[in-house]
Amino acid sequence: MVSIENNYAFYKLDGRILYIRYHIGIVITLNAAVKIVADRIRLQDGVSYPALCDIRGVREVHKPARDYLALEGSVLLKAVAFIVENPMSEVLSMFYLKTTKPPVPTQSFQNQRDAERFLTDFL
């Protein structure tokens, strides 16, 4: 198992699924988005994985960051499961899905077990 952490998120790779947990109360600016993707790609080392993104801590995603993530956010990912809970994280994931049409299968879930179940189809 490998794990890294930057100012925005904690990443854990268990060999099958990539887990990304965003820090509580973060605002994703363009610089943050670039760092978030770059660190993920570095951790993955050229291998594609399904990813479980816990976005419950995200407070805001700036427009330039949304545009960046729409284009670059799915590189080297087989599928994405968002963990949402409060209305805030729920609308962020809904807005992302509606406006960006991600190139890989992407869904939102209220708990980790359902999210992992969804991702097992893409191992």
């Binding site: 109360g25 610089n31 670039v34 760092k35 993707v37 770059a38 660190d39 993920r40 790609i41 570095r42 993955q44 080392d45 050229g46 407070r59 805001e60 995603v61 427009k63 949304r66 284009l71 670059e72 590189v75 080297l76 409060n86 209305p87 805030m88 994280s89 729920e90 609308v91 962020l92 807005f95 406006t99 049409k101 190139p103």
Partner: protein, 323 residues
């Protein structure tokens, strides 16, 4: 901020949007409730619509040019507002006499105040300055107006004559004035207007696209985006795959996205390659294959011609920078 106050701001911002002004935003709080979620969606919607007003997917059609709203402030060297234009008062919901004489920063939000203070110090040290800064204005009602501010320092004979001019350009959906302007202006003049200078000129004869054609071209674009590693079939095969013809795909694509199919594909492949080069230890051979290049030298040469660095150089550069 109380729920009632936040709901009042939602109402205010929606009223403004209804009047075609999509540049107002609602101040965010640390809450994560339904009201906050609604505020977040309204802000994001405003950003999307505001951008769509300027760029409506068609890269350059006359309809996409909208009414321009301008805020102009003249500021003295102490940071006080000496004069401003009528539209600035309307946007901020203040009378001119309530603004003139006040400090510029009293109309900014908290983050922008510290940003402005810091920049003002630097601006005062220099003689003639032309620069830009992202600042967020706060209206009387508490709505936010994030803006790119263009700042020019004007030189004078004495300190009293020196001042700053701050210009903010916004777009709204009210088209009347600009349409009048377009009617009375010669086409040649319109082409040279600074707003359109960097946009490609439209030729008179262009392919006619209906909504079905546009949907097919969009699908073809999405297909290319999601299959960057695959060999490009051919324009003809791609057109057939999406039920259109080569002519419509070729010229329609250019009209919608302002770029040829091949150039688009190359750009997207290289964009993906750049991300993979910067962010990992993956071999360049693997990256070349993942981005649709069957030969590493071709990949390296194209990469260098676009980014000015070979993949090796860029990887080194990126890993040495503390981004």
């Amino acid at each position: 901020m109380s729920k009632k106050k936040r709901l009042r701001r939602i109402k205010d911002v929606l009223m403004e949007m209804g009047a075609g002004k999509f540049f107002y935003r609602i101040e965010r709080s640390s809450k994560s409730d339904h009201v906050e979620a609604l505020i977040s969606v309204i802000n994001m919607m405003g950003e999307e619509i505001e951008e769509a007003l300027v760029h409506q997917e068609y890269v350059n059609v006359n309809e996409s040019i909208k009414h321009i709203v301008l805020m102009n402030f003249q500021i003295d060297l102490n940071g006080k507002i000496k004069a401003l234009n009528q539209q600035a008062c309307e946007i901020l919901f203040y009378r001119p006499d309530e603004i003139v004489g006040q400090t510029f920063m009293s109309f900014l939000d908290e983050t922008s105040i510290s940003k402005w203070k810091k920049n003002l110090k630097n601006l005062l040290k220099k003689k003639l300055v032309d620069t830009s800064l992202n600042l967020t204005f706060k209206t009387r009602k508490g709505l936010l107006v994030p803006s790119a501010c263009y700042i020019n320092k004007l030189e004078g004979k004495s300190d009293d004559e020196e001042s700053f001019i701050i210009t903010v350009v916004k777009h709204s959906k009210k088209q009347v004035e600009l349409e009048d302007y377009l009617k009375t202006t010669e086409p040649q003049t319109i082409k040279r207007h600074r707003l359109f200078k960097n946009l490609p000129l439209i030729k008179k004869e262009k392919v006619r696209l209906n909504s079905e054609d546009i949907a097919k071209i969009r699908e073809a674009r999405d297909f290319l985006m999601n299959n960057l590693e695959k060999e490009f079939p051919s324009l003809k095969e791609l057109a057939l795959q999406f039920g259109t013809n080569t002519f419509k795909l070729k010229y329609g694509f250019k009209e919608l996205y302002g770029i040829s199919v091949f150039r688009f594909l190359r750009n997207e492949r290289l964009r993906k390659a750049k991300i993979l080069v910067q962010g990992g230890n993956c071999s360049f051979k693997t990256i070349a294959y993942q981005c649709g290049y069957r030969s590493v030298p071709t990949f390296t040469n194209t990469f260098k011609s676009v980014f000015g660095h070979t993949p090796t150089e860029l990887r080194k550069k990126f890993s040495s920078e503390d981004f």
